[in-house]
């Protein structure tokens, strides 16, 4: 079970570890898009865009429905929540450290 979760996190972070795929996710956060629409800003072939979409699909971040000859993609944010949970565990460590100077010198600012 733990291994399965870990493998899933692998695929999510792998999917996120690419600027093109992150940009695609940003587009999909605005609404549904076809694969060719996703490809457009990058001047890449449909095949190359499709490969990126597949990686996002494998991570569960994108759902694809086929409508006739067009493939419509939409964002599934579920796996992002898992990734966020993983990161959140560490959040307090850097948060405490980051705020240290601000806390030392601006005690009053926190009240406002």
């Amino acid at each position: 079970m733990v291994e399965q979760q870990s493998a899933h996190l692998d695929s999510v972070f792998h999917a996120l570890a690419d600027p093109t795929r992150r940009a695609m996710l940003a587009s999909l956060a605005q609404g549904e898009h076809t694969v060719s629409e996703l490809a457009e800003p990058f001047r890449m072939s449909l095949a190359a865009a499709s490969k990126h979409v597949k990686t996002l699909e494998r991570a569960g971040l994108v759902r694809r429905t086929v409508q006739g000859r067009t493939h419509v993609c939409r964002l599934d944010p579920g796996p992002l929540a898992e990734a966020h949970d993983w990161l959140r565990f560490y959040e307090r460590f850097w948060n405490e450290r980051l705020d240290a100077l601000a806390a030392l010198f601006t005690p009053s600012a926190k009240e406002r």
Binding site: R97, D99, L101, K110
Partner: protein
């Protein structure tokens, strides 16, 4: 109404000799190594490390504000004890000129292992205390991390 004697005490164990830890508080070249966070830190320090001598720190917080702190050394026992006034000079208006007292005590637990006790007294309010508690905690954790690094890297840095 004046709240009587608000203070905070923090204790940390550092992997360094007490003399070295003492220097980290009084050497302007060493202060910024732990009094800093990503995007900010003590960018300028002048220190006259003797009883009655003054110090002045300029510390930039990540929002870009440069905070000035001054004070006078009241006790200096290298490797053991440091007492200094800690006066915030602004620019955040609420506590400017408020004199507080900062005491750092060092106790060598073993070779290269020092217990540091920080006491910050005469704090003007509970909000102030809660906030500087968080501040000193983070900075002392920086210090712990600094001395947890390889001693060689530390000497070169």
């Amino acid at each position: 109404m004046q709240t009587p004697e608000l203070s905070l005490t923090l204790v940390r164990t550092l992997q360094a000799p007490a003399q070295e830890v003492f220097k980290a508080w009084t050497d302007p070249g060493l202060i910024h190594r732990w009094m800093s966070v990503p995007g900010g830190g003590t960018t300028a320090a002048t220190v006259d490390a003797r009883v009655g001598g003054q110090y002045r720190l300029e510390t930039r917080t990540p929002d870009g504000t440069v905070h000035v702190t001054t004070g006078v050394y009241q006790e200096l026992e290298p490797g053991r004890r440091l007492v200094q006034t800690w006066i915030y000079q602004g620019p955040i208006s609420d506590f400017i000129g408020q004199e507080t007292l900062l005491t750092v005590e060092l106790r060598e637990l073993g070779p290269g292992l020092t217990e540091l006790t920080l006491k910050h007294e005469r704090l003007p309010s509970e909000t102030y205390r809660d906030s500087v508690t968080q501040g000193w905690s983070g900075l002392l954790d920086n210090m712990v991390a600094l001395y947890a690094e390889e001693p060689v890297a530390r000497a070169e840095g």
